[in-house]
């Protein structure tokens, strides 16, 4: 037993550290098309103190540390590009507190989206949190760390990172910090009015520390949920449709989808408008207001609402949606690659055309769509390309489509979301040099040994 393995085993217990080739194989790759890189160890901590001890050991040994939540980003952010320790956080999955009145929850970093949803449904049925379109094992901390978004992003304040009320983090030098109101008082209600240090750990891809606890905003959960689907053949109208719908303040979630399948929907763009209400009257009123906002389209018959049969409606109302994971089997191959472009809504038609063109050039199926973030302050536009994992050529096509899409998104004025290392380099190339230099100063200050997820947010 090597010394590092023994020290790790002393910290977390022998059964929760592995350097067996089976674990190294699984943790060397994710579900996307990035090349595998094996870690040296996989470690499953149970407490922030254990994380601290691991970080101190990693500093001593100059071993990279890669924090991992659900491991579902598809873009290799938890693949240990330079080896070292993968810190699988999912043992730390306790729901520590729900403040029903102030509507926040405090959870450990490995808590999954599904577990929090189930916990709230059972114990606080009038509260909910914003769920991403990820499988339910995706973690709360992983999602906020990559600026995820979800079904309340339109109505309740934007990216999930904006719903964070506080963090507990372990710095790359081993200190355990509380950030937000919890640093000063026993409540996790807000990041304001203090200097906002939470952002130092959001969007950094685990390069600035390890998140161990999250304070998260919760929201009222109305009793009724329904959905409208607005169809148009002209993609150029979609930003206006979204503008009008969001202006009504009647919708909970506004998403957009374009997909060549099923065949009956080919050539159409679907805007999916999710509505919640506490009574039938409220629901009908909201629907009426939304319909009215789009009346000019209805009058000219340029577009219209699609009657949704119950068998089609049920999966749309589901959160999280199983159908999205099923997209991985479109090419009968267990994978899809995914670029989320965060962009202004006016770029949406251009993004659609680019996505279809890239798919055609690379001879690969596609699904395109987006979600309104905030009151149309931006959209998260996704380009998804399924591939067959057993077909190297197909994986190459998906890889190429991914790279082409990153370039296209940046060119049109968007920024690739949770970009893989090469995508990050593209972003940095375009970033104001002063901004990048400042990022590097912050990184150097926080992580003088350079142990945290190296290979990410690096020019070279």
């Amino acid at each position: 037993m090597d010394n590092t393995f023994g020290r790790l085993a002393e910290i977390v217990g022998r059964e929760y550290v592995s350097n067996a080739k089976e674990e190294l194989f699984i943790y060397s790759r994710d579900q996307g098309v990035q090349d595998p890189h094996a870690p040296d160890y996989v470690v499953l901590p149970n407490t922030a103190e254990e994380v601290k001890e691991i970080i101190l050991l990693a500093n001593e040994k100059k071993i990279p540390v890669v924090p991992m939540g659900g491991g579902l980003v598809l873009s290799g952010l938890t693949i240990p590009l330079k080896g070292g320790i993968v810190l699988d956080m999912k043992r730390m999955n306790r729901i520590l507190e729900v403040n029903e009145t102030s509507r926040y929850a405090v959870v450990e970093a490995g808590t999954s989206q599904g577990m929090l949803k189930a916990y709230l449904e059972k114990n606080y049925p009038k509260l909910k949190h914003s769920l991403p379109d990820a499988p339910p094992v995706a973690t709360i901390a992983g999602n906020i760390a990559i600026h995820g978004s979800g079904h309340l992003s339109q109505s309740e304040g934007g990216f999930h990172s904006e719903m964070v009320t506080g963090l507990e983090v372990v710095l790359p030098t081993g200190e355990i910090l509380l950030l937000g109101s919890c640093s000063t008082v026993p409540y996790w209600f807000s990041r304001a009015p203090l200097p906002d240090l939470v952002g130092l750990f959001l969007g950094w891809n685990g390069t600035t520390g390890v998140i161990t606890k999250v304070g998260l905003k919760l929201f009222p959960k109305p009793a009724l949920h329904d959905v409208l689907m607005f169809m148009t053949e002209d993609v150029d109208t979609v930003p206006d449709v979204m503008y009008r719908v969001t202006a009504t303040s009647m919708a909970e979630d506004v998403t957009f989808m374009i997909t060549p399948k099923p065949a009956m929907l080919e050539g159409f763009q679907e805007t999916i408008i999710s509505i919640v209400a506490n009574s039938e009257e409220e629901m009908e009123l909201k629907k009426k207001i939304i319909r009215k906002s789009l009346s000019s389209y209805l009058e000219t018959k340029e577009a219209g609402f699609l009657p949704i049969p119950p068998n089609m409606k049920a999966p749309i109302l589901e959160t999280p949606q199983k159908d999205l994971s099923r997209f991985a089997d479109v090419s009968k191959g267990g994978g899809f690659e995914y670029v989320g472009g965060i962009m202004p809504v006016e770029k949406l038609p251009e993004a659609c055309r680019a996505g279809m063109s890239i798919a055609q050039e690379n001879n690969i199926p596609y699904s395109l769509g987006g979600r309104v973030i905030g009151r149309l302050h931006s959209v998260m536009f996704f380009f998804a390309y399924p591939f067959n994992r057993a077909d190297e050529a197909d994986m190459d096509r998906a890889r190429q489509a991914l790279e082409d899409t990153n370039e296209a998104v940046l060119k049109m004025g968007g920024i690739p979301w949770k970009a893989e290392a090469s995508g990050q380099r593209l972003i940095l190339k375009q970033m104001d040099p002063a901004t990048y230099e400042f990022m590097q100063r912050i990184k150097k200050t926080l992580d003088p040994s350079g142990i945290m997820n190296p290979g990410n947010w690096e020019v070279n």
Partner: protein, 387 residues
């Protein structure tokens, strides 16, 4: 491994739906719950089997631990997001175990279990002649043209708790006037868990022993004590030309109870655990609940994970005998009894002797003896008759 399985391994997205029940409450895959490495999830297993068949990783003790720690509970089948592969997940794991068995690379407890069955005909290494000891004093006849054969299996024959349960069920059947007999020393292991451990050849041998004996005696209908035996006789024996009407004892009780004399009140809070081989494997969720519902005064409180979402006791897929999952706070039996106790129930009702034993041990390990104890469905009914 069969080509049809090998050809779909790559279609697993490893999206992780398989780790949770359909209500997402907590990890519901016993192996993942215990080990917590991605490699021990069903998705991890799929990717590792593919890598193993492709030569990317070699056979190892760790790989065999990963494969043989699966309890074949089928939570993954229930929860998987991909309709084209979900039904095959557990079959694939069993097929991969079969490849390991063929290569002779299996964990020592699996080897010992299979060896014991081979040599002694049962995992307890007990004399075959002792198989009928559970029925001592009950005056149950050897099967002879009765309507039913009551088949109790290995655990019902040799384990103290299993024997107690077999006696309880037999007493109910007898008192209800059911025409049944037993095979005592002529019973052969049903082979369900042998098959789940990948030893298809030994399973076929055991099944054919039973099928031949049943045919020789003219058996048409079988009542099993154990959901595992129920599963193999109902679903696997027909593939070997063993076609019988097979019932789990709770199914028979649920029919009998309608015409039974009124039961007396049992004032108890009870929660019921669905055995995997009755529930997810055979879609039988109601028989036990019908029986419990017929006991006046009894309050049935469901655990949050119930029916198709039930957390396995950890004893399936051969783990009851091999104990590869082992003890520990995250063992599913201990997690499950804590969940049962949290309902406020004082009785954890079971319908499987393996679950009974697993939970009985787990309650002791958790120090919950003062709060909750395990009872089989038939024991509860017997108590309602005695008062």
């Amino acid at each position: 491994m069969e080509k049809e399985y090998a050809d779909i391994l790559h279609r697993c997205f490893r999206c992780g739906w398989c780790k949770l029940p359909t209500n997402y409450q907590d990890f519901n895959c016993p192996a993942y719950l215990k080990y917590r490495f991605e490699s021990f999830s069903s998705g991890g297993r799929m990717w590792l089997i593919r890598a193993w068949l492709n030569g990317e990783i070699e056979t190892s003790e760790r790989l065999s631990e990963i494969l043989f720690s699966c309890t074949t509970c089928k939570n993954c089948v229930e929860a998987c997001a991909l309709p084209k592969i979900k039904d095959y997940l557990v079959d694939i794991f069993i097929a991969a175990r079969g490849d390991m068995v063929e290569q002779g690379i299996i964990p020592p407890p699996v080897r010992d279990y299979l060896k014991a069955i081979n040599v002694s005909g049962n995992p307890y290494k007990m004399p075959q002649a002792d198989r009928g000891n559970w029925a001592d004093g009950l005056n149950i006849p050897y099967y002879n043209s009765h309507e039913y054969l009551f088949y109790v299996g290995d655990v019902g024959s040799y384990d103290e708790i299993g024997m107690k349960m077999a006696r309880s069920v037999a007493t109910l059947l007898k008192d209800a006037g059911v025409s049944f007999g037993i095979l005592a020393g002529d019973e052969t292991s049903d082979g369900n868990d042998v098959k789940a451990l990948g030893e298809a050849g030994l399973f076929t041998y055991l099944a054919e022993q039973n099928i031949n004996k049943f045919k020789e005696l003219g058996v048409k209908k079988i009542i099993t004590l154990d959901p595992h035996g129920f599963n193999s006789m109902k679903n696997e024996y027909p593939k070997l030309d063993g076609n019988f009407e097979v019932y789990h004892y709770t199914q028979v009780l649920s029919s009998l109870i309608k015409d039974a004399p009124p039961l007396r009140e049992v004032h108890a809070k009870v929660t019921y655990h669905d055995p995997c081989y009755l529930g997810r494997w055979n879609n039988e969720y109601w028989a036990s609940r019908i029986v419990l519902g017929s006991v006046p005064g009894l309050e049935l409180i469901e655990m949050d994970r119930n029916m198709q979402n039930a957390l396995c006791c950890g004893g399936g897929g051969g783990n009851f005998f091999t104990d590869i999952l082992g003890p520990g706070e995250d063992s599913s039996s201990r997690v499950r009894v804590k969940e049962a106790a949290a309902t406020g129930a004082e009785i954890l009702a079971v319908a499987c002797p393996l679950c009974y034993k697993m939970f009985d041990d787990a309650i002791k390990a958790e120090g919950l003896e003062e709060k909750i104890h395990v009872k089989d469905i038939s024991e509860i009914v017997n108590e309602a008759r005695k008062k």
